[in-house]
C-alpha cells in the first residue's frame, strides 16, 4: 500500500519525548510541553506542567490525585476506542492492561499507522482492562523485561506463596513491597481473589490511590492504615502489610514483628537481585510484559517495524532481526525501570 507519510515524519524522538510534527503533540513528554498525550499515571510518564493534557479519565483522575488539581492548563478525557482528530492526525486510545486507566495511543496519518504502547502487559489483571493488540505499521514497544530470562509466572501462583508462608510463620508479619499505583492494588485484589479476607494493612503512601480504585468499583476489601496507633507490635503478628518498597528499608518497618520482606516485581525473577535487596520472599508479579508477552505482541500487531523505547532493547532488537522484522532502539530518556 502506498504510504503518503514516512513513519519517522509522523513520530520522532525529541529530548522532551516522542513528538508528532503534523499533530503538534507529544506522547508522555518528560518535560513541560504545549500538548501532551499521556498513556498512564505513573510519574515518569505523567508529569505536571503541560499546557494541555489528553488522557483517559482515570489517568486524569490519578494525575490529579498525585500532582494536585492544577497539574495542567486544560485537560480532555479520551474515551477508549473513539478516534479524535488532532490537526488532521487521527488519534485513538486503546487499553494497555498496565494499570487502571492505562492506554496505548494509536496515531494515524497519510496511510501510516503507529501504535505507541506505553507500558503494557498481557497477563490478566482484575484492576484494569486487558491489552488489545492493534494492527499497525509501526509498533512502539517498551522493553523493561526485554531479555529471555524474564518469564513471569501466573500471578495467582505467586500470591499463593505468600498465603502459604503466612500459614507457616503465623507469628511473623509479611511486608509486601509494591509500587503505589497499580501494583499495590493488584496485589491486594489478588489476595482477595485467593480468599484472604482479613484486613490488609497499608502504608500511608497507598491510601489515596487505593481509595480511588475502590471508588472505581475495584473491590480491595477492608484496608487498615499500618500505623503504630492502630496496633502494637503483637497486633501485626500474622498480618499482611502492603507498602512502597522504599519504606521497608526505612525505620517505618520496625513496628512489625520479625517481618518477612516480600517484594512484588518482575525483577524478583533474578535470585541475586532478591538477595541483594534483603528480600526473603520474592513475588514475581509485574505490570510489564515479560519476554514471551513482548514477542507474541509484536507478532500480533503484524507491524513491519518495531521501535523499542526503554528497557533492555538490545535483546529485543536482536530477536526482531532474527525474525526478519526491522527494529531499532529509540533511546528515550527519563523513564524508570519498574520498582527501581
Amino acid at each position: 500500500m502506498f504510504k503518503a507519510m514516512r513513519a519517522s515524519d509522523l513520530l520522532k524522538p525529541r529530548p522532551e519525548g516522542l513528538y508528532c510534527p503534523p499533530g503538534d503533540f507529544f506522547i508522555d513528554p518528560v518535560r513541560p510541553v504545549g500538548h501532551a498525550l499521556i498513556t498512564h499515571g505513573h510519574s515518569d510518564h505523567a508529569r505536571s506542567g503541560h499546557r494541555s493534557v489528553l488522557a483517559t479519565q482515570e489517568t486524569l483522575d490519578i494525575m490529579g490525585l498525585r500532582c494536585g488539581e492544577h497539574f495542567a492548563g486544560t485537560t480532555q478525557a479520551a474515551a477508549l476506542g473513539e478516534t479524535l482528530d488532532i490537526n488532521g492526525v487521527a488519534v485513538t486510545f486503546h487499553p494497555a492492561g498496565h494499570v487502571l486507566g492505562s492506554a496505548q495511543i494509536c496515531v494515524e496519518h497519510g496511510g501510516m499507522r503507529i501504535v505507541a504502547s506505553g507500558d503494557y502487559k498481557r497477563q490478566k489483571d482484575a484492576t484494569c482492562l486487558p491489552f488489545e493488540p492493534i494492527p499497525c505499521d509501526v509498533f512502539i514497544t517498551e522493553a523493561t523485561f526485554g531479555l529471555p530470562v524474564f518469564r513471569h509466572p501466573p500471578d495467582h501462583e505467586e500470591i499463593a506463596r505468600v498465603l502459604k508462608s503466612a500459614a507457616q510463620f503465623p507469628e511473623r508479619s509479611h511486608l509486601i513491597g509494591a509500587y503505589a499505583l497499580g501494583k499495590a492494588q493488584r496485589v491486594m485484589r489478588l489476595l482477595r481473589d485467593a480468599g484472604y479476607d482479613r484486613p490488609i494493612y497499608i502504608h500511608g503512601a497507598l491510601a489515596k490511590l487505593s481509595e480511588y480504585y475502590q471508588n472505581q468499583g475495584i473491590d480491595l476489601g477492608q484496608l487498615e492504615p499500618a500505623t503504630v496507633e492502630s496496633g502494637s507490635k503483637a497486633d501485626f503478628a500474622g498480618a499482611i502489610v502492603v507498602g512502597p518498597p522504599s519504606a521497608f528499608a526505612d525505620r517505618w518497618a520496625r513496628r512489625f514483628p520479625d517481618p518477612i520482606s516480600c517484594f512484588a516485581s518482575g525483577w524478583m525473577r533474578i535470585r541475586q537481585r532478591a538477595k541483594q535487596g534483603g528480600v526473603e520472599l520474592p513475588l514475581i508479579i509485574s505490570d510489564h510484559a515479560d519476554w514471551d508477552e513482548l514477542i507474541i505482541t509484536i507478532k500480533e500487531t503484524g507491524a513491519e517495524e518495531i521501535w523499542v523505547t526503554h528497557g533492555r532493547e538490545e535483546a529485543l532488537v536482536r530477536w526482531c532481526e532474527l525474525e526478519g522484522i526491522a527494529a531499532r532502539p529509540l533511546h528515550l530518556v527519563g523513564y524508570e525501570d519498574e520498582g527501581d
Partner: protein, 532 residues
C-alpha cells in the same frame, strides 16, 4: 520435584536459622517417601549423581537458542544454573504428561550412562518448570549452596520427631538415602533403626563457658584441668577394620587427613583435638594448622611439612567396651594406658594442668605455654561422657580476648529482624606515615552490641553517610570525625586476601567508644605485633 524446588528457593533467601528449620520440618512432614529422603540426601551432600560440567550445560542450551541472546542473558544474570533454568526453551507443542517426582528425576540421572547423561538431562529440563529446572541443574552440577549445613538438616529431623539431635547424629552414618526407616521412626510408626554399620560417630560432649560467679560455687578438688587446644575437635573411630575420623558434628573428615587416618590401627573410639606438628617435639601454631584446612586434596609435601596428629582427651570405647558411662577418672586411666600403645608421632595425651585453687589456675590460664592454647578446660572427675552440652560437668575457661580500638568505615543493612537496621560493620585502623594516615579495613562484625546500642549506631550511620552502594553505606571516617568501636577478637591470622594483611578470628563489638576521638584509634602496627 516442584516442592523440592520451592524449598530450595525459600532456603536460599531465608537468613534466620529458625526460619530455615521451619521450612525444612514442614517439608519433611508434608512430603512422602522417598522424595523427602532424597531431598535430605541432596542437602546433606549424600546424594550420588554423576556431575555435569558447566561447559556441557552451556553447549546444551546454545543448541536450542540463539547464542547472542543467551550471551545477553548470562551477562545479565551472572549465574549459569539460573540463566539456563530461565531461558531453556520448552520444545514447541511439548506438554509434559506429568510433573516428575524428585525420585524419578534422581532415578533417571543415576541410571544415565556417561555418554547418555546430557541427553537425559535435556529431557528432564524439557519437562520441568523454571524452579524445577534450577533445582535439577543444582543436583547435577554438584553442591546446592543454599546455606543449610548437614547439621541444620539433622536438627530439622530432630524437631520433626521431637528427639535429641544427638540420636540422629549417632545413627546417621549407618543410614542411606532415602532414609525410609529413619522417617518411620521419627513419625512414631516404627522402632528406632538399629545400625549394623561399623565405626559410627558418637555424639560429642561439649562444655559451657565459665560465667562470672561459677567458680566460687565450685570445689577445685572436684575438677581436673587441661589446656584448651585451639585445633579441630575430632573423634577417631576404628571398628572391624573400618577407620573414620569425624568432626565435632559427625562429618567424616578422614579424606582431609590421610596421614592421621593411616595411623589409626586400633579398636577404639577416641575424643581429642587435631593439631599439626610432631607431638614429641613441637605443636604447630594456628597458622600451621590452617595449611591443612579447607583443601580439596592434600599433597604429600604438605602432609610432610604439616603432619596431623591427635591430642587425646577421652576414650568412649576401647576393644568393644563402651566406656561412656564410667566416671572421667576411670576413662582417663584407660585412655592413658591405651595411648601408650599408639604411634607416638600421631597420638599423645592431653596433659593435666596441676592446680590447687582457682587463683593458681587463673594465673596459668593468663600465661599459657603455647600460642595455640586458648584457655583451660575443667572436667569433673566423676562425670560420665554425655552427649550434647550438659551444664555442670565440663567448663571452658577461655583466655581473655584481644581488643583494639577501630573506626567504623562501612555499614551494611542486616537481614530479617534487622533489615531496617545498619547492623553489619566494617571497621579499620590507621596506617601510613604521620600526617597522612589512612584507614585500612581490618574486619567486619555484626554482633556484640545491645538492641539499644544498635539503634544508636544505626542513627549514627544514617546521619553520617557519605556514599551508598546498594545495601552498604560508607560512613564519614577521618582523623576528626568517626565512631570508634572497641573490637574484641580471639586471634589474628596473616591474610593475603585483605589489604591490611591480617584477618581477625571471631571479631565482635565489645564497646562503643563515643568518647574517643577517631584519631586516637589503634594503628595497624598494633595488630601486626600480634601475628605469631
Amino acid at each position: 520435584m516442584n516442592r523440592f524446588a520451592e524449598l530450595l528457593d525459600r532456603l536460599v533467601l531465608t537468613p534466620s536459622r529458625n526460619g530455615k528449620l521451619t521450612l525444612l520440618t514442614d517439608y519433611f512432614r508434608s512430603v512422602e517417601d522417598p522424595d523427602r529422603g532424597l531431598a535430605l540426601a541432596a542437602i546433606t551432600g549424600d546424594l550420588n549423581i554423576a556431575a555435569v560440567k558447566p561447559a556441557m550445560l552451556r553447549a546444551l542450551v546454545v543448541e536450542r537458542m540463539d547464542p547472542v541472546l543467551f550471551g545477553y542473558s548470562y551477562d545479565y544474570v551472572g549465574d549459569l544454573a539460573e540463566t539456563v533454568s530461565l531461558v531453556w526453551p520448552q520444545p514447541q507443542g511439548h506438554i509434559p504428561d506429568h510433573v516428575p517426582t524428585l525420585a524419578e528425576v534422581v532415578g533417571r540421572l543415576q541410571a544415565a550412562s556417561r555418554s547418555d547423561g546430557p541427553r537425559v538431562l535435556a529431557r528432564l529440563l524439557d519437562d520441568a518448570s523454571i524452579s524445577a529446572r534450577f533445582a535439577i541443574i543444582k543436583l547435577v552440577t554438584g553442591g546446592l549452596r543454599i546455606g543449610v549445613s548437614a547439621r541444620l538438616a539433622k536438627q530439622a529431623l530432630a524437631d520433626l520427631g521431637q528427639v535429641d539431635v544427638a540420636e540422629i547424629e549417632e545413627l546417621w552414618h549407618g543410614l542411606t538415602p532415602p532414609y525410609t526407616a529413619l522417617f518411620a521412626w521419627l513419625e512414631g510408626r516404627a522402632e528406632k533403626p538399629r545400625s549394623a554399620a561399623l565405626a559410627l560417630f558418637r555424639p560429642v560432649m561439649l562444655s559451657n563457658a565459665v560465667d562470672d560467679n561459677d567458680l566460687e560455687k565450685l570445689e577445685p578438688t572436684d575438677y581436673a584441668a587441661e589446656w584448651k587446644w585451639d585445633g579441630i575437635r575430632v573423634q577417631a573411630v576404628c571398628e572391624g577394620g573400618v577407620r573414620r575420623l569425624y568432626s565435632r558434628t559427625g562429618d567424616d573428615v578422614s579424606g582431609a587427613f590421610p596421614d592421621l587416618a593411616a595411623a589409626m590401627n586400633f579398636e577404639a573410639a577416641l575424643d581429642g583435638e587435631l593439631l599439626v606438628g610432631d607431638p614429641r617435639e613441637a605443636t604447630g601454631t594456628f597458622s600451621d594448622l590452617q595449611q591443612r584446612l579447607n583443601r580439596k586434596s592434600v599433597s604429600p609435601k604438605i602432609q610432610q611439612q604439616y603432619p596431623a596428629f591427635m591430642r587425646c582427651y577421652d576414650a568412649l570405647q576401647i576393644d568393644g567396651e563402651d566406656l561412656r558411662a564410667l566416671p572421667f577418672t576411670e576413662r582417663r586411666k584407660r585412655l592413658e594406658a591405651f595411648v601408650r600403645t599408639l604411634d607416638p608421632g600421631r597420638f599423645d595425651l592431653s596433659p593435666f594442668v596441676e592446680f590447687s585453687d582457682w587463683e593458681t589456675l587463673e594465673r596459668l590460664r593468663q600465661a599459657p605455654p603455647h600460642p595455640i592454647i586458648e584457655g583451660v578446660m575443667l572436667k569433673r572427675w566423676d562425670s560420665p561422657y554425655l552427649a550434647g552440652r550438659p551444664k555442670g560437668p565440663w567448663f571452658k575457661w577461655k583466655r581473655d580476648p584481644h581488643t583494639i580500638d577501630a573506626v567504623l568505615m562501612y555499614a551494611q543493612r542486616g537481614h530479617g529482624k534487622r533489615s531496617s537496621f545498619y547492623s553489619d560493620y566494617t571497621f579499620g585502623v590507621w596506617s601510613g606515615p604521620e600526617g597522612s594516615e589512612e584507614l585500612v579495613p581490618v574486619g567486619k562484625a555484626y554482633f556484640g552490641f545491645t538492641d539499644e546500642e544498635l539503634k544508636e549506631i544505626d542513627k549514627y550511620v544514617r546521619d553520617n553517610t557519605i556514599e551508598r552502594f546498594g545495601p552498604v553505606r560508607s560512613v564519614r571516617a577521618d582523623r576528626r570525625n568517626g565512631l570508634v568501636l572497641e573490637v574484641a577478637f580471639e586471634g589474628l591470622n596473616r591474610s593475603t586476601r585483605h589489604k591490611s594483611g591480617v584477618a581477625m578470628r571471631f571479631p565482635r563489638i565489645s564497646r562503643l567508644r563515643w568518647d574517643k576521638p577517631a584519631a586516637e584509634a589503634d594503628r595497624i602496627e598494633t595488630l601486626q605485633a600480634l601475628l605469631d
